[in-house]
């Protein structure tokens, strides 16, 4: 095994992921089903929030993955910028719709949760607001990818957007915090034992988070494979037209 970078070779990447993907898919399905079934059927109600607490098993994992997907895109973009490995640019492209879906799930479940808890579907709470902005970033990123025809130019431009966007996303997070102290829960997943929610909620939540992480990885790998093939198709077709 020469180095990690050899997996940036498209062919090698397809081979390796082709072997890994089925295993990963099964694992993902298992974890997700176990976590969600556990959360939905076998957890008690919260003494204050009643049954709505069950929404947490969707809400928190999707919220975490929405942020992590953007981070992954940032890293992949930087790799493209520095080492010019095409697979990493395509992986960033592949991750964006997954991240957008996660953002949408977090927003929707939050809105549904907010109705009984806060008495409103939507409040301009900092965390909610910054998620809305994150959703806008995803939309812009995806739109830019699909608007540019030359794939290398698209990779370069989206990389610039991703980098600048990350800075501004952080900035808006602080701006939004400063703008409004919100209704939303603070972080309760800290390692600090006293602060944590009870284990009955905590363990299934961890399973769900693991499920979402696995789902994200599986989907990104699958979609990256698709992007690689699509890229080869367009290259071949262009040559055919030339000849």
């Amino acid at each position: 095994m020469a180095s990690l970078w050899q997996y940036a070779n498209p062919q090698k990447f397809l081979q390796t992921t082709g072997a890994v993907l089925p295993v990963l898919a099964v694992l993902t399905a298992l974890t997700l089903v176990v976590g969600l079934v556990w959360g939905f059927f076998f957890t008690p109600d919260d003494y204050r929030q009643g049954a709505t607490v069950k929404i947490i098993y969707l809400h928190v994992p999707s919220a975490l993955m929405a942020i992590n997907a953007w981070l992954m895109m940032l890293v992949a973009s930087l790799v493209w910028l520095v080492r010019r490995h095409h697979v990493s640019a395509l992986a960033a492209r592949a991750a964006a719709p997954v991240g957008l879906t996660m953002t949408a799930i977090a927003l929707l479940t939050g809105a549904i949760w907010g109705q009984p808890m806060w008495g409103t579907w939507w409040a301009w709470d900092p965390r909610l607001t910054s998620f809305l902005i994150l959703g806008l970033f995803y939309l812009g990123y995806i739109a830019l990818w699909s608007a540019i025809e030359n794939p290398d130019a698209a990779a370069d431009l989206t990389t610039v957007l991703c980098m600048v966007g990350s800075v501004f996303a952080l900035l808006s997070r602080y701006a939004v915090n400063f703008w409004n102290q919100g209704l939303h829960q603070g972080a309760s997943l800290s390692m600090d034992a006293e602060e944590n929610v009870a284990d009955v909620f905590y363990i299934p939540l961890l399973v769900c988070i693991a499920g979402f992480v696995l789902l994200f990885i599986t989907l990104v790998l699958l979609r990256t494979r698709t992007e690689i093939r699509a890229r080869r198709i367009s290259a071949l077709l262009a040559r055919e037209r030339m000849a």
């Binding site: 969600l36 939905f40 059927f41 109600d45 009643g50 049954a51 709505t52 069950k54 929404i55 969707l58 809400h59 999707s62 719709p97 997954v98 879906t101 949408a104 799930i105 929707l108 479940t109 549904i112 949760w113 109705q115 009984p116 789902l215 989907l219 699958l222 979609r223 494979r225 698709t226 093939r229 699509a230 080869r232 198709i233 071949l236 077709l237």
Partner: protein
């Protein structure tokens, strides 16, 4: 079968239904596109082999 969700049944079930629907859509779309692109690529490569 479905646990007693009390007065929040609608909200909880709605949240699960919506989220799972979104996830299924995403997974389905990804798999459908993967299959289609794969088929296209195979066709084109086959055409190239035939034409030399």
């Amino acid at each position: 079968m479905i646990p007693d969700l009390g007065k929040y049944a609608q909200a909880v079930i709605g949240a699960y239904a919506l989220s799972i629907a979104l996830l299924v859509l995403l997974v389905g779309w990804s798999m459908w596109r993967a299959a289609r692109v794969r088929r296209q690529l195979n066709e084109i490569e086959a055409r190239r082999v035939r034409n030399g």
